[in-house]
């Protein structure tokens, strides 16, 4: 067990962040470990000087300053709610993952220009390291001694690893029926891992109640009471994609939807880059991707609703199995505003898409990546996505975490005696 080393700070240092702001009603709050508006329960998000209507610039950072920064998310620290000296603190320094030019997959799908943003390259092999890195700095600021979360798996591992590096305790909560690899990854870092007999939504509810209890005192739940800060980490996906494309926003992007937080922050990131003049203003379309067995946002989109009816998840894409997605209404708003869509695919299509991405680009995605690639293929087929436009699809996690999903399909070509004759026979059988 790691020792708690954090001490309450007398002065908070959140870099360029100036306040928390309610996304629903705009009420502002001091920066603190809170996540819901007292007036309307709306979600709070971090506000910066450049969010103010009267902001006229200049940008607090230039392209050159960013480009001379480290090869991780801290190259964008001037746009994030973290102290300027974040580089000197122990953390996992995630990000700056590869943007893979996916010509083979593009050819197969009939798309002119396609890139895969491969976030399996992060320290714990999912995009969650980005959001946890920001939440960790908030936890340090508030003097919390324990880092915690409710998780569908990837987040639990990211929290455990970040806490270990930072010297904080951790206690993470997951549905007890998660994939074995994710359970191992979440527990290997030495913190406490608690399996809850229930769905992710029930785990989430449990954590929300724990926050109000003395048991959870001085705990930073990265996706609950630190959620406004945590969410900002997903903006770095937008920043990186734009910078890696040569400071240009893609025409279209396909993003997985669980809670919906990531998609909303990718939109926020693009809008900030435009507002700060770091990229040219241009239209872009954001598409959301869900698994059919947990598709409340896709269902609402197709029905023309602006609210999301919760569902009980039943899909192999467990990292996306959030039946009551808190940011679902915003995903609907953004998909409609940008001219995108929200689509879903079956579990069989998810497996097929994992194999397609692996076969064409050498990228082994977890089930969430199968969802985005499967939805990409479906969007092209049904004409909702323009095959002539520059497109980016996200892979948010590593296939090694969800081996069971494809283990029946990915088997040895043959098992033979060590002889050339046996190999000739096997090759002949499989040619």
């Amino acid at each position: 067990m790691a020792l708690a080393t954090a001490q309450p700070k007398t002065t908070l240092d959140f870099g360029p962040a100036v306040a928390l702001s309610c996304r629903e009603c705009g009420t502002r709050y001091d920066l603190g470990p809170t996540f819901a508006c007292v007036e309307c329960f709306g979600p709070l998000e971090v506000a910066y000087s450049w969010n103010s209507p009267g902001f006229t610039g200049p940008s607090p950072v230039t392209r050159r300053q960013i480009e001379s920064g480290p090869a991780n998310i801290w190259r964008y620290r001037g746009l994030l709610p973290v102290p300027a000296d974040v580089l000197s603190k122990p953390n996992l320094a995630p990000g700056w993952t590869k943007l893979v030019k996916a010509d083979n997959l593009a050819r197969e799908l009939g798309i002119r220009s396609l890139h895969v943003k491969d976030d399996s390259g992060n320290p714990t092999h999912s995009f969650k390291d980005r959001v946890v890195a920001i939440a960790l700095e908030a936890a340090r600021n508030f003097g919390f001694h324990t880092l915690s979360c409710s998780s569908t798996g990837n987040l639990a591992g990211a929290v455990g690893a970040a806490a270990a590096r930072a010297g904080l305790d951790s206690c993470v909560f997951i549905p007890s029926n998660l994939e074995e690899a994710k359970i191992t990854m979440a527990s290997v870092y030495g913190g406490r891992l608690v399996g809850i007999e229930g769905t992710y939504d029930e785990v989430n509810r449990f954590c929300s109640e724990l926050i109000g209890d003395p048991l959870g005192d001085k705990w930073g739940f990265v996706n609950v009471n630190l959620r406004p800060y945590y969410g900002e980490g997903s903006k770095t996906l937008s920043y990186e994609i734009a910078e890696q494309l040569g400071w240009r926003i893609p025409d279209q992007i396909v993003v997985p939807v669980a809670s919906g937080s990531q998609l909303t922050k990718i939109d926020k990131g693009f809008k900030e880059l435009i507002r700060l003049g770091l990229v040219d203003d241009k239209p872009y379309k954001i598409f959301g991707a869900q698994a059919e067995g947990c598709s409340p946002v896709s269902a609402a989109f197709k029905a023309g609703h602006d609210i999301v009816q919760p569902v009980k998840p039943d899909t192999i894409a467990k990292s996306l199995a959030i039946g009551n997605p808190a940011d679902g209404p915003y995903v609907l708003d953004i998909a409609r505003r940008t001219g995108g869509a929200v689509e879903d695919v079956t579990d069989a299509e998810v497996v097929d898409a994992i194999l397609l991405l692996a076969r064409t680009e050498g990228i082994f995605a977890e089930t969430a990546g199968g969802v985005t690639v499967g939805v990409l293929r479906k969007l092209v087929a049904n004409g909702l996505l323009d095959p002539a436009a520059e497109t980016v699809v996200l892979n948010t996690g590593d296939g090694l975490k969800t081996l069971d999903a494809v283990s029946a399909e990915a088997r040895p070509t043959a098992v033979i005696r060590p002889s050339l004759d046996a190999f000739r026979a096997a090759v002949a059988d499989n040619s």
Binding site: V38, P43, K128, L155, R205, C207, S259, N324, P325
Partner: protein, 91 residues
């Protein structure tokens, strides 16, 4: 029916900091009406101007999210525990 209601941190200003209060009613709607009578102002934090549960609030009767059952008309048996929880994103 006598029930208990767990109050989220951000609404405890209405209950003098108390985390769990007693209330009464045969349905969730009646429980919330009694809650408003006991702690004026709290009802408008949970329900919007049209009287519906705000979209960023989750209400549970026992283990059940009321959106999966009868919403405000969900029956609240004697001794039921009701939880009011802000919706949070996860992952």
């Amino acid at each position: 029916m006598s029930v208990s209601v767990r109050i989220p941190t951000i609404l405890r200003t209405y209950t003098d900091g108390v985390a769990e209060v007693n209330s009464e009613g045969a349905t969730l709607r009646e429980v919330l009406q009694k809650l408003e009578a006991d702690f004026p102002g709290i009802g408008a934090r949970i329900l919007d101007e049209t009287g519906k549960i705000r979209r960023f609030v989750n209400v549970y009767v026992g283990e059940e999210d009321v959106r999966f059952v009868e919403g405000l008309d969900t029956v609240t048996p004697d001794g039921a525990q009701i939880s009011v929880i802000p919706a949070v994103a996860g992952g």
